[in-house]
Amino acid sequence: MRKQWLLCVLPKTLTLARRSHPFSSSSSGGGVAVKKVTKANFESTLEDLRTRVREADFVAIDLEMTGVTSAPWRECFEFDRSDVRYLKVKDSAEKFAVVQFGVCPFRWDSSRGSFLAYPHNFFVFPRKELPLDGPAYEFLCQTTSMNFLAKYQFDFNACIHEGISYLSRAQEAEALSKLSSAYENELTNSTNTSQENLEIPIVSTADLLFTERIKNRFHEWRNGIMKNSCTDHYLKEEPGCVMSQFQTVFFKMRPAVELNGFNSHQMKLIQLVLRKHFEDLVFIRTPGEEVVFEKKVVYTDSEEDKALLMREVLEDLHRSKEARVRSAVGLRHVIDCLVSEQKLIVGHNCFLDIAHVYSKFFGPLPSSIMEFALSVHENFPNIVDTKHLLNSSHALQYLMKKSSKSLSSAFSLLCPEISSYPMKSAHASYVKFEVQADEAGSSNWTSGAKHEAGFDAFMTGCLFAQECAHLGIKFDLSSPLTNLATNEKLKGYINLLYPSWNSGTVIDLTTGIEKPESNYKRKYPTVLFSNIVLLWGFPSKFKPKDLKDCISKVFGASSVTSIFFLDYTAALVQFSKKEFVNDFLMLKDTLERNPDDPISVLNPLAGLLEGDNTRAADYDTYKTICSSSASKVLFADQAEAAGIRWKTLFSSHSPEAGSSAETRLHSHHVSCEDIIDTLYAARSVS
């Protein structure tokens, strides 16, 4: 039985729910029933959700993660080059875990003249559910993010104790292929009995006694079976002896003994004894509870029977493993459903979310943003970002005036009906929403709260529908909704995402091309990457001003256009002319080669080189270091972890080829060892 919780049209039906969870005054609206999904109710919810998604006009999603940046210098900066920015997003999606996944299908019900929303909040935890050596079940937590989640009462217990696990497509394929090869191996091995040596390596008298005793026991047991087949046979009880656990059971219509209470070493000895002395007794493992195998010894009456048994056992094993892989796919079933239904996906500033979805559920992230965009587009043909809509539609910009574009503030501004209490009189321009909750199993329903993925997805969806209304898309009573994804009014906004909040660009998922966004106000002047020197490891007392003064003394007052400190160990220095980059690197190298030369000592740069640990290179090195998988808090440490041992790296730009093509000219400046170091720095990346 279903109960309708109407938010706008039928406020009376809401009173009950309202009283228990009154809407908070402004941004953080509560009182919306969000379904909490954990391991326990995942299977049942999944079936229900499939139907909801199939019927939906669009599906809003939102993710909560254990962190965003693995080191302070990995934060996205406005002047990051596109490839560097993507590397930072990639690093984030690879290192942090998703702990909540919010999915909210929205369906236009023309008979009611409102949207029906079904917010779901999945708790996620990457659990190791298969005994195969699969992916690294290790993830990073950023302490500030954890505290942020804690501030909004995130339930870590629900997440870790009951979170739903998942396998990506790549992981599933790997698990299945490993499984089938293991199956084939075992099949061939079982027929080939003469493998390995049959010698029992007796290392201690205890082992010797054990093998003798076990041999006698099995003799007795087998003889007993041969004598009075088909009647239960018990071994003579021998107090205090492990053998007393021998008890005949039946396995696939054959007499068998379960082996309990032996340690792994003893198991090995038992197998050796069986192989050496008993042709008709077979040691088998059958899938038991959890990960452990039940071990049995089965009596077979002929070679053919033995082979038949082995095949049956292996098939069982294989089937149960396959079933386990299927169940380990877990949360990805939800993603698969979204992909196969090809629905319009709605997110708020969702580039990072999509990257997480990709790396967790599809496979390793591609190395370039273009590949990534195109691959995402193949899976999700239509994605729309509510934040991009807010920024690029003039109508919406007018409405938003200058207020914050964060999800909750945009939501409370554009959807005041839902977000505020007491409710204002329903205005014509407001789209109406109803949240539907299943009354059975009410313990699974929670009152939505800000920064909870399920509720955030709900807010995102409401915001999107409201935005559509402002763009002139009509949601009328008793008129069905046409496909939003192909709507002319929305066309210019679909599949455009911000690679980061401050990039000033949008990426078009259909083409993979990144373009500057027209109405983005830049804080910094446009950056010429070929004019940049990356400096790190300099004395920590150096502040931006000191650095500028120091360089200006050598290259002239206007030589430095801008300086940006990545952290207190590293800086990007942009020169006014491209030539200065090489001049600077050359000068630094010369000074370091002749440290005791009076000219070196007196050079204004000498202060910068103090400590003999100052490194410099061009912007491409910054990219190399960013792509290293290590995550040191300080940039200088990161550079070392990335395998950089040299002090100065030159590059020259051939004027015709422009900044992208370049040849390195370090043969006489850099030793062979340095090159190798750099090579494996690059390797450790891949």
Partner: protein, 613 residues
Amino acid sequence: MASNVVGKRRWSGAVKQVTKSNFSSALEQIKKHIHESDFIAISTQPTGDFSGASSPSSHRHPWRRVLPVDTSETAYLKAKHAAERFELLQFAICPFRLLGSKVVAYPYNFHLFPRDELNLGMPSYSFSCQSSSLTSMAREGFDFNACIYDGITYSSRAQESVARDRNPVPRMRLMTSSSSPSVADSVFMGRIKSRVETWWKACRDPGKAVDGSLVLSLRKLILGGELYGSRPCLGIDVSSDHQVQLVLKVVGQICDDLVPLIVPDKQGEIKTVRLILTSSEDDKNLLLTEIQSLEEEEDLKVRGFREVLDVISRSHKPIIGYNCLHDFTFIHSKFIAPLPPSMAEFMCSLRLAFCEILDIIHLLKEVGPLRKANNVPAALSYLRRQFFTPVELEIPPQVDSNDKNHGHNVLQIAYLFAKLNNLLKIVPDHQPALEQDTRQVKDFANIFYPCSTTLQDSDDEDIGSQAEKSKKFGTDNVVLLWGFRAGISAAGLKRQLHGIHSVFSENFELQLVDRTCAIVIFHVPGSVENLLEDMRSGSIGSGSLKEMMSDGLKVTGYEAYKKVCRMGLWEADLAESLEMVSSEQTDDLPSNCKNDTSEIYWSSELMINLNDI
């Protein structure tokens, strides 16, 4: 009520659980218990570990665990890698006394969470979690919400000194004698002097106390005076440490009732000296104690949980742990300073903080032969079987008992130690030796074993069924081998190698380290040089060795493995890491490393059983 039964259930609720909310009261309590104790047992729970006995998932990088082929140096580097990566969420401490066969224990379990209270990116920016570790904590009923919402934060000693610089808390400072002032200094001092005196006189002048509020605020505007609590106070802007000294000097000359406070800004740079006017000598003393307690409070907030370790450190009591290399690399990196690059430096630095650390693993080795007791329960059951050592454990009830049993490991360690101590008769240094054949703590202290064990309970343990035979080998008898067919068994590979080179015709041992790499130990000295030299020069004939080499087989000495660990190339497969270092020229190895051959304990049963993976 004490009995020999060792189990979680019996001890459940005995361990006092400490979070942020009851930290300060627990701190006072544990200080007392530490003071009265003979020994202190500790046990930690990290968010992940590579030692791997806990679950199959950590087998993903089997070679990152401490292996039997590890020297203490490489074992340290592996422990360092784990300690820098993971975070401690629980820290159990149990001060205990030994009264004959009775152990009187006061167990505490501290819940930790690295909260950045001061917004300085401390104690940690981010940390790693292994889902298997978190899952096993969850299985024990660990409350992650309590831990993250209400865990105690901390900072290391090194971080505290940084925080002290950057945390803008006003402090008192002693004046350092300085050289005679320059002209500029004199001008500056003169200016400050007249300003302070004007303000001081204005404050002292009782006639103006009746002024209206307008006049008061006007005066405040002109003189720059403000209030520090209820006392008048004046802020003086300074731009350097030198100027601070000058201000202090001036103030000292003016009057005794002024208390200067130095106020740094967010960047840790000193911007202001605040002068507080006190009304009398008593008032001044009152203010000074007030400031001092404020400072202490602030310091404690920064130190957090580390205060407990500082108390332990100051007490000089012997610390008992199980697998101390693991625990103390964590302790050093979280609570003292970043881990140094070598084991020797680590031990040195650690000893400065904790003078006597007793590793149960070492004590076990003293009692019996080198044997396989992989965890605390296994060791306990071994002792129970082999020796009669009645020990009675008494846990005086703590006021707020609970139903949680987190941190009970520490009780097992205390209990195990008491049993071992019955056999070894170790006497704390401060106690007189009453019996004969007693031994000193220092005879056992500070010996860490490279050991790949954890504290996980495990029911089916191989105990006593096999005496482990291990032999000592110099690392110069070891080579690492990779580039063979994946999925081959150790026996298969050994068969394949047999006879393909003269060194492989003698007896040698081979085990797989992970899927990609095997380790070979030669019994005949000089085999390693022989093999490596022949492979380098290519004088290997045209037999199957050449064939295997052309298929990609590679061999390197132990040095490459050490280098991999030293450089922190923790790739998924060892072969990959070895490939990286061996592609470099070999002559860049520091020569002193080459001759440095350490010994490893090799047992014929290598700890990794690839079938378990």
